[in-house]
């Protein structure tokens, strides 16, 4: 079973960086992403929003392999700042998983 992490949910809530509230799950970002991973970035943000930390951790390599190229955000109809969200997740993992800052 996937457990909901209150720690990650709180970190997301308190952050002024992570914001995917406007996302309407249209899938444009995934379609234009040169990496072509199914998870980047739409599904990943959904996991974050509902606090599924285990699911997020399973996808650490996708989180670090985002190019931060911005193709997704350029085409996102809801103007979600996708690269900032990915950077936020890296920061969270660096601090909480890798003990790095």
């Amino acid at each position: 079973m996937n457990r909901v992490s209150s720690k990650m949910a709180l970190a997301v809530k308190c952050s002024d960086t992570f914001n995917a509230d406007a996302c309407m799950h249209c899938g444009v970002c995934t379609a234009v992403c040169p990496m072509g991973y199914e998870i980047l970035p739409r599904k990943l943000f959904r996991y974050v929003q509902i606090g599924l930390e285990d699911k997020v951790k399973e996808n650490i390599s996708s989180i670090y392999s985002c190019l931060l190229c911005g193709m997704c955000a350029e085409n996102c109809p809801a103007e979600v700042n996708i690269a900032d969200n990915v950077r936020f997740l890296r920061k969270y993992i660096n601090e909480n998983e890798f003990n790095l800052s």
Partner: protein, 320 residues
Amino acid sequence: MPLPTKDILGILADNLNKRKSVLPISTAGATRWAKGLELPKGGKTILYTGHLYQLIPVIDAMAGQMSRLEDSPLTKYFGLGRNVNKLINMTFFMGMMASKNTRKDYDHMLRNIALLLKKANVEFGYLYGEELYSGALVYDEGLDGAFAKHAQRVCDLFKKHGVEKVITVDPHTTHTLRSVFPEYVKGFDLDVKSYLEVLADSGIKPTTLISDELALHDSCVYARHENVVEQPRELLNRAGVKIKNPTLCGKNTHCCGGPLESLFPSESHRIANNRAKQLKEAGDNIATMCPICLVSLRKAANGSAQVSDLSDTLARAYGV
């Protein structure tokens, strides 16, 4: 086994904290390009290289070794490597394997940029050995603690020299200084412009008309974050160059794959190959405006197309 993300990020952060750069290079290596140009030290307006052009030959030499390590059992020793690197600068020794010719090639691009600015009657100085890396890679990897400290160091350096205007040479340094530093350093309000913007705004006139066809690769960072799309085109148009835009260009440009080189080399090469293919459909004479794009696409093209830095064409057209 893939390369160990945690240990590599650790090495980058340790190096920035201790040695003020992700991959420390010698002062001689960082400043050799300026030899004989007699640029004044410091000044209100400075040319700031951010070391990216000088680092590419080093990164290139290291990347070859890293991609051999990907999927090798040796990756488990990265943790050990990080501990040794804390005491002895291992990355420095790896960098010494950079080829002399590659270094000369990248130094030449910086010289051309400086000479173009002189030709446009821009007055500027250079911080020589005091100049620092911008911290861009550490910021991208979300190592915010190390980045914030470094950003402050760079700002203190500008303050010490009374710098007011900064001319940058690559998209990553431009973006970090212009758009990221103000979020991390209180009161940071320097005027930061890329050399392409400065040249396009100046009245610089071409001395030679060049009728070459040039397939232009826009950098994601310049195009999408810093609005540098028209300036290079204007400079090329003035000189008669026939620009061939690939299908994905300008704000919808496709990444060169370079940002993944240190953590996921094979993915990085996959993206670079895709982009090189798109560019070759536009033409086999390709120009880039970022040293990371240049090295990635050159490797991907592997001799099947000529890939050069935009400054080469500009230098020819504007007579430097």
